[in-house]
Amino acid sequence: MQRRIFLKTSLAAAEYTLLLNAGLLTPRMVLADWPADAFHAGSLDEAMLALAGGQPVVESDDIELDVPSIVEDGRSVPVSVRSHYEGTDTISLFSEKNPNPAVGTFALDPALEPRLDTRIKMGGSGFVIALVGAKGKFYRTSKRARVTSGGCA
């Protein structure tokens, strides 16, 4: 499952890079504005591609992502992300089963520890994904959570 998401994302990233090279799209610099393309995207791949600026996203064990494995109330799910990458400057969160999977994205100054705790909505059981940007590269990790009552109904 995770591998399939990764492969799809990689292929889509390759297409995106082609478009970039053809000058059809301009890469967004590190989060200068509300990322409408990512937030309105209806699929996880599309949303992630937009927030990674078209860069390839590498599956990683160097991000700690804590999400409860069983969620009783999908309207408020505690999520904790801790990146072990030096130079971490963005952290983005996704919930696979939301109508719009990208939930939020954060730009971190070097004065911050690369660690955030927050709460998100989950529209159903599925993966929560954390995407970390560090020095222009992107890494992700996923955690599966079972939701017994949804948050996007």
């Binding site: 989060l31 408020s76 939020g104 004065a111 520890e113 660690r115 909505k121 948050g151």
Partner: protein
């Protein structure tokens, strides 16, 4: 108790030599997907779009959110350096242009 007096809650304190900031905002964070049972219409989308966190006036964290962040959003972050008395300011704006802010000192 604190919530009765203040709409939003912020706590900044030193923990193992480093400042930790915890924030709880009161906001409906409506997704725009819910139906109003009385009228049968959709409840309009209403969410915080942007949040800025400052440490002694220096911006340290910017968040862009969509409607998938939880009702009454919670956020906690940690600074690498800081001391008691430093000022933490947080302001945010929602999709209707309503701006709010909250300020505290590190304890």
């Amino acid at each position: 108790m604190a919530l009765a007096k203040h709409k939003h809650k912020i706590l900044a304190k030193m923990q193992q030599g480093k400042p930790v900031v915890k924030l709880l905002i009161r906001h409906p964070m409506e997704t725009g997907n819910r139906t109003d049972k009385l009228t049968g219409g959709k409840i309009p989308r209403h969410f915080i779009r942007e949040i800025h966190c400052r440490h002694n006036a220096k911006r340290v964290l910017t968040g862009y959110w969509n409607w998938g962040m939880a009702l009454n959003p919670y956020l906690a972050f940690r600074l690498k350096e800081g001391k008691q008395g430093d000022v933490i300011t947080i302001d945010w704006v929602d999709n209707r242009g309503a701006t709010e802010s909250i300020e505290t000192r590190i304890r």
